[in-house]
């Protein structure tokens, strides 16, 4: 593993005690921004102290930046205040929309991969940069439907937004894997189609196969299962192809296993990174020789 790679966990209050006991094994913690919007001054001070001990990022889940509509100024200001108080290493959000026309989806959805969404996303990102003071890292989402009205693939859309905004990417490898499975694509080809040179952070999580009444199976990203083997394989390939430092975050939102199992997942991610890095060094050395 490169000395600059980091592997850590998504902060959840249920895991707090164990996280604090095992900080020596955790390089990075990701905190959901919206859960801290009503945090007390004491809690915010504690998060600031935490950010002094270990690298921390704030992760937004409700801005809806990838939309033809305008991002809420109020939500941006709350993110800005939190960033100002906690002083994280960086902040991140999803390339998704979550509301439109007064309808709240309550989760992350894909708007059409089309010029109107691209223009809106770039405008929203510019505004986010202005208000928060930093551009967010942008995360790919899992989707069960290719948005109607799309004229680009998901990867083309991601590339246009990320490169157009000059943003870094938070690559969720389970979202990528789920989309590959659900749209009959090769996950490694899908990985190759993304702007890997812009990946700064990585999410690893798990999901579950579900059947619809018609007997069709789909992989649902649910964050309550362990990352499957292909996700670690994708991380190894990413570490081989992307030489820049990566911050890898294990996401778990429930059905928590023993903390030892989460530490094992961190260790497994370190191995995948190290294996990919070693392969790259080997090839570079051969080229020099």
């Amino acid at each position: 593993m490169s000395g600059r790679d980091r592997v850590g966990l998504a902060w959840r209050d249920e895991l707090a005690a164990q996280i604090m006991l095992h900080l020596d094994f955790i390089d990075h913690l990701e905190i959901i921004a919206e859960r801290e919007w009503s945090a007390s001054r004491r809690r915010l001070d504690a998060l600031r102290d935490l950010a002094c001990q270990v690298s921390v990022s704030l992760h937004g889940v409700s801005l809806g930046l990838a939309s033809s509509g305008s991002v809420s100024e109020g939500r941006l200001e709350r993110i800005a205040r939190l960033v100002g108080r906690v002083k994280p290493d960086h902040w991140s959000e999803h390339l998704s929309f979550v509301r439109a026309g007064g309808f709240e989806i309550g989760h992350l959805a894909a708007a059409p991969y089309a010029p109107q969404t691209l223009a809106g996303a770039l405008r929203n990102l510019e505004r986010a940069h202005q208000v928060v003071g930093a551009m967010p890292q942008l995360e790919n989402i899992a989707t069960l439907l290719t948005p109607p009205g799309s004229c680009w693939t998901e990867s083309e859309f991601i590339g246009k937004v990320v490169c157009g905004a000059g943003a870094a990417m938070l690559l969720d490898l389970h979202n990528l894997y789920a989309n590959a499975c659900n749209f009959n694509q090769d996950p490694f080809a899908l990985l190759d189609s993304l702007p890997l040179e812009r990946v700064a952070s990585v999410h690893l999580s798990g999901g579950q196969w579900e059947n619809d009444p018609g007997g069709c199976s789909r992989l649902i990203d649910d964050h309550i299962h362990d990352p499957p083997v292909p996700v670690y394989e994708l991380l190894e390939v990413l570490a081989f192809k992307a030489p820049q430092p990566l911050t890898v975050i294990i996401e778990r939102d429930g059905h928590y296993p023993d903390f030892a199992a989460l530490l094992e997942q961190i260790a497994r991610a370190r191995v995948a990174l190290a294996t990919g890095r070693a392969r790259r060094r080997e090839i570079e050395l051969r080229q020099v020789a």
Partner: protein, 67 residues
């Protein structure tokens, strides 16, 4: 900036599986009532019904997890 009517239609469908069933009964009328252009109406006729139902149910379940 005006929000794309297609986005509004999708948000309406993803917010409620009941809306999905109404939409699937008569996609064209539903889409026109949402202000979609003729080209967009053609695009929503091609949505895979099973995937749409799956997506709406998945969103409903995820909303339940956060309540």
């Amino acid at each position: 900036m005006n929000t794309n009517p297609m986005e509004i239609l999708l948000a309406q469908l993803f917010a409620s599986p009941n809306e999905v069933e109404q939409f699937l009964q008569d996609r064209e009328t539903y889409a026109r009532n949402c202000g979609l252009t003729a080209a967009q109406v053609t695009q929503v006729l091609e949505i895979d019904a099973a995937s749409l139902r799956f997506a709406a149910r998945s969103f409903e379940r995820k909303r339940g997890l956060h309540d």
